[in-house]
Symmetry: C2
Subunit: 332 residues, 2 copies
Amino acid sequence: MTTISDVAAAAGVSVATVSRVINGNANVSPETLAKVTKAIQDLNYRPNLLGRDLRRTKSERVLVLLPNISNPFYSEIVKGIEDVANRNGYSIMLCNTDSDIKREKKYVKMLKTRLADGAILMASEMSCEELTELSKELSIVQCCEYKEGVPLPHVSIENEKAAYKATNHLISLGHRKIAFIGADNQFLSSNLRETGYKRALSDAGIEIKPAYICYGNYSYKSGFRNMKRLLDLPDRPTAVFCVSDVMAIGAIRSAMEENLKVPDDLAVCGFDNIHFSWMFNPSITTISQPMYDLGCTAMEALINIIEGKSSEIVNYFLEYELIVRSSTLKGY
Amino acid sequence: MTTISDVAAAAGVSVATVSRVINGNANVSPETLAKVTKAIQDLNYRPNLLGRDLRRTKSERVLVLLPNISNPFYSEIVKGIEDVANRNGYSIMLCNTDSDIKREKKYVKMLKTRLADGAILMASEMSCEELTELSKELSIVQCCEYKEGVPLPHVSIENEKAAYKATNHLISLGHRKIAFIGADNQFLSSNLRETGYKRALSDAGIEIKPAYICYGNYSYKSGFRNMKRLLDLPDRPTAVFCVSDVMAIGAIRSAMEENLKVPDDLAVCGFDNIHFSWMFNPSITTISQPMYDLGCTAMEALINIIEGKSSEIVNYFLEYELIVRSSTLKGY
DNA sequence: AATGATCATGTAAACGATTACATATTAATC
DNA sequence: GATTAATATGTAATCGTTTACATGATCATT
């Protein structure tokens, strides 16, 4: 490993001068510049980031913690994050937590140990107390999923209203027996979506039937199983609102196995607008989150915090959209 | 930011002793241990990784460069990589290159600058020369996609044979008019799969028709478009082999738009066995790569290199599998 | 009681960079 | 020509660790 002093020796100058050349300092004579540049070339020298960052106490790196890279929902968000990061000279590193709090904490530790300047948390498993603790010393933004009452900014959509809109769409198509496949996790969005679903029913004067409400874990299988259960009910629903597209796909396959037609016998609405929701047959009606923009906004907020431009905590709610497709409306 | 000397001061000992405590050195008296542990707790101290790694010239971190996290194919591989890494005390950080050589090089630079001990490259855009150059100073393993003749180990499947098997499956079902949707990129696997396809046809005494061979870019749309073109041929094929599941899905949707039935009117075979290939309707016949194992093996190979256990370059070819489903065989 | 081993702790040098400050050289001003 | 300003370069401290080596205390051995 060649170091800055190797270069200095080769060029016959001091390490300070080499450092000046590397960092584009103006006060270097043309001849010295040439000598040093040549030495750097010859030795194929790259500054050691550990040394540099240690001295600078700044890394221009940002961690993105996400529960699961295999969830297509996150891909677009990450793209937004990366684009803004790159425009501002930051590198991002993705950390797959697998929804495992131990893994998550390992990455948080890297943050604490200054390996990165800040982080974006996508669906943290940490408690409010832990997050509040972290907020004191670290630059962190919550994206999509967030804990309420934690002094950290978040970027998301209004899940309650979005769910209301989705459910209302089903109601407006004439459905009265509308089931709900939610998620049994600690995330706020799951609750908010359930609340929105219920409010839509109430507002339409439809009774809320507990038997129509069930919970999965965002997976295909949980969508499949829950739908099967719903279809086994004596008074089976004619529509279902799933809080993720993947579960919606599971639900549709379940209905198909029972020889039901979608949307004729069962209308299905998902959430997220992942790529596969329009590739699927039938294409799936869903709520589209502005994933790319969510990512961009989160990264912008993070940079503001890191660079100390804003000390107040700003939360962002971006616009969502109901996208009607064949799984609820024929011919779309 | 509290440092080791803050802790030392608070505990009334030297920094060396604190360091000993942190690193579990045996020669520390119980009382001192207690004092220091308490001070660490009180001050909520975490060692600065930059300082530590700089001194140790070792980071126990590994970079995983992949072209696109939104490709579900990579998720399982990453899982394998992570599991082996964690078992061996390494952290992994994912780097999304977006198939952009500039981004890729940015991450390689981090490697050169000792931010990580090594890297796994999933589908590098770099040339053989560049990779050869890197191999001299860095610990790198190629996974899935690889360049031939580069002195870096790789882990993959035998793409030519796998494609042969897939094509042969279609032939054995009685098809003679078999199209191929490949990929127009620089990757070896694309070529090998085409070669395997052609060899299967030749071996079966079927003429290779250039009109039946076309190229996409692994996307849904490119599958869709190419299939449309193939179906517009005067003598349309009755089967198609796509080098990715996503393109296969595009092809199926294309056939459906023409009111063709899959597999009755058109048999479709994909490649990769991503989750959606069995969620899709019809479920898709495909070649299953042992993604998890590919990841595990790549990580194991990398650790061997980093820790200097093996200096020779070993290449691994893992077993693939043909998975027959409804898109080629009814009722599966 | 002298010797040596063992244990606990401290001192200070590294790791590889950046940068405040000092110094030397040259150019500009009066 | 003396003074000052600007430019180019070097010296050494610093970032937060780890760790080789030194030191001093304790205890067993002879």
